[in-house]
């Protein structure tokens, strides 16, 4: 155990479990003022399980911010209910800038329409700081699946007596909605099969239990490169630089674009000076060449939006997804 202590000292006290924000934050914010921020370790809530794309992006970002701001960033995974559990927790935290959130398309783009009883407003209850990364969705297929193009998929789905199964990482995810949109646009009979995360879904696609999957590019990228699954179509506007050989939906005659994104946000009412500093630090971290290469390999595009730009972006996303969610018929209590 002694050695662990030594390790921890070296790792800038990363072992720090999250401080209970309610008790201590208000006094700290009042006494220290903005100039001294950050005065204590910063809790970055990731509303997904450890090991996922958001988690990885958050950890890379946290490392960079930690070096620039001089306080440890502690990742706290709070998964559940389409990322709304962790988001709600941050919405209710004190706006002293020591509790931040990885806001994302699920909790801040889709959930406002999908969940009837959502207890936060994706725009008003948060201070949005910066868009961190965005990446397209991609349709992948088991290599033995006999349908190289989207047109083949649609045709096969109409010929099969039971339609065609397409997996996704969960109900209400942007990947799920892409399946619904595809079904409508291509007149295909699709049967959506939700999973608990992308990992188990990918297992079943590789095993051939489900022939197709709609996945985010970062979690599918490795499997596509290794050839364990085949990319059918990319839901980006242009061909993706990391996968120039994969045709887009548009090229295949189906006008669909679906980007998922993650950003940095905090509770509503954060002081503008702190937001400015945090935003500049984030943009500086995102501009580092090492990180850019890592992101591109993963299939993501680093964001470059100001706090007000990101707020507008979130607002636009909520408006954009509302009709899609309604059309999909999905709704959660």
């Amino acid at each position: 155990m002694l050695s662990r202590r030594a390790l921890l000292a070296g790792g800038a006290a990363v072992a720090a479990l999250p401080v209970d924000a309610r008790a201590q934050d208000l006094s700290a914010a009042a006494s220290s003022g903005v100039a001294a921020w950050p005065t204590q370790p910063i809790r970055l809530v990731v509303p997904f399980a450890p090991g996922g794309t958001t988690d990885l992006v958050a950890r890379m970002l946290a490392q960079g911010l930690q070096d620039r701001l001089g306080q440890p960033f502690i990742i706290e995974n709070r998964p559940g209910a389409g990322a709304t559990v962790g988001s709600q927790q941050v919405a209710q935290a004190a706006p002293d800038c020591h509790t931040l959130l990885m806001s994302n398309i699920a909790s801040h783009g889709i959930a406002p329409t999908l969940y009837r009883t959502l207890r936060y407003d994706a725009v008003k209850d948060f201070t949005h700081v910066a868009l961190v990364v965005s990446n397209p969705s991609v349709f992948v297929a088991n290599p033995r699946f006999a349908g190289p193009t989207l047109a083949d998929v649609a045709r096969l789905s109409r010929e099969a007596p039971r339609g065609i199964d397409i997996a996704s990482s969960g109900s209400g995810s942007s990947n799920h909605l892409l399946i619904v949109q595809f079904g409508q646009a291509a007149n295909a009979r699709v049967n959506h099969v939700p999973y608990r995360g992308a990992g188990p879904a990918m297992t079943d696609v590789i095993a051939g239990v489900v022939p197709l999957m709609s996945d985010s590019l970062p979690s599918a990228a490795g499997h596509i490169r290794q050839g364990s699954v085949r990319a059918v179509a990319m839901a980006s506007a242009e061909r993706h630089p990391a996968f120039p050989e994969v045709p887009t939906f548009r090229e295949q005659g189906i006008d669909l674009v679906s980007d998922s994104w993650f950003g940095l946000s905090g509770p509503a009412g954060m002081p503008p000076a702190v937001v400015q500093r945090l935003s500049q630090s984030t943009l500086a971290v995102l501009a580092e060449p090492g990180l850019r290469i890592r992101f591109t390999e993963l299939g993501g595009t680093p964001g470059a939006l100001s706090p007000s730009g990101y707020t507008e972006f979130v607002r636009a996303e909520v408006a954009r997804w509302a009709p899609v969610v309604r059309a999909s018929g999905a709704e959660v209590g």
Binding site: M1, R4, R5, A15, A16, D20, R22, A23, Q24
Partner: protein, 200 residues
């Protein structure tokens, strides 16, 4: 008579839980066998539980005798009183100040009061003391700090053991030793993020 009272009591608890579960499950959409809703699996589970509990009840009439420990009148009254006091304290706790109206402190105070009342009669004393000790820990930890919470917990827990009551020095020894040990393990080594001393 070969009645197994323990099994009858067990099946009564299981039946109660199954019925409550089925009742709560009325809120959930069952869906169809093809696309099961959130209520489908609970329905299967609670009906299975109800059926099994019924079988346990039937079997209980032939598998005994296995009598329950008898409760004295004092013990029965004590239990009822503890539940009443606990509920009442939980109910009024939010009026005692903002501390008790936030998070779970009000519930904790109610539980603590109930378990302390339970310590009155000998039959319930152990369970009352141990559970009350844990409630003391939870109530004191965030505001009072780890040290104060530990002292409170150890003191209440030591009431459970008759030998400790006559030897305050022994209890003091345990307390000091455990304070040192917990500080070394959880603060010095593992660095769990709790305040060590009281917060004002």
């Amino acid at each position: 008579m070969k009645v197994n009272s323990k099994d009858i009591a067990a099946s009564a608890i299981l039946i109660l839980l199954a019925v409550v579960g089925l009742w709560l499950n009325l809120d959930h959409n069952l869906g169809s066998a093809r696309r099961m809703g959130p209520g489908y699996m609970p329905m299967l589970v609670f009906w299975t539980l109800l059926g099994l509990a019924g079988l346990v009840l039937l079997a209980a009439f032939f598998s005994g005798p296995d009598p329950l420990q008898k409760w004295t009148t004092q013990e029965s009254v004590n239990l009822a009183l503890a539940i009443a006091v606990g509920t009442a304290v939980w109910w009024v706790a939010p009026n005692f100040g903002t501390f008790f109206s936030s998070t779970y402190n009000g519930v904790g105070l109610g539980m603590l009061a109930g378990f302390l009342v339970l310590c009155w009669s000998l039959g319930w004393r152990l369970i009352g003391c141990i559970c009350a000790a844990m409630c003391v820990f939870a109530l004191l930890l965030e505001q009072g700090g780890l040290m104060l919470a530990l002292i409170g917990t150890i003191l209440v827990a030591s009431l459970a053991e008759p030998e400790h009551r006559d030897r305050p020095l022994g209890v003091m020894g345990i307390t000091i030793f455990l304070l040192a040990l917990c500080w070394w393990v959880f603060i010095k080594q593992l660095d769990i993020r709790v305040s060590v001393w009281p917060q004002f």
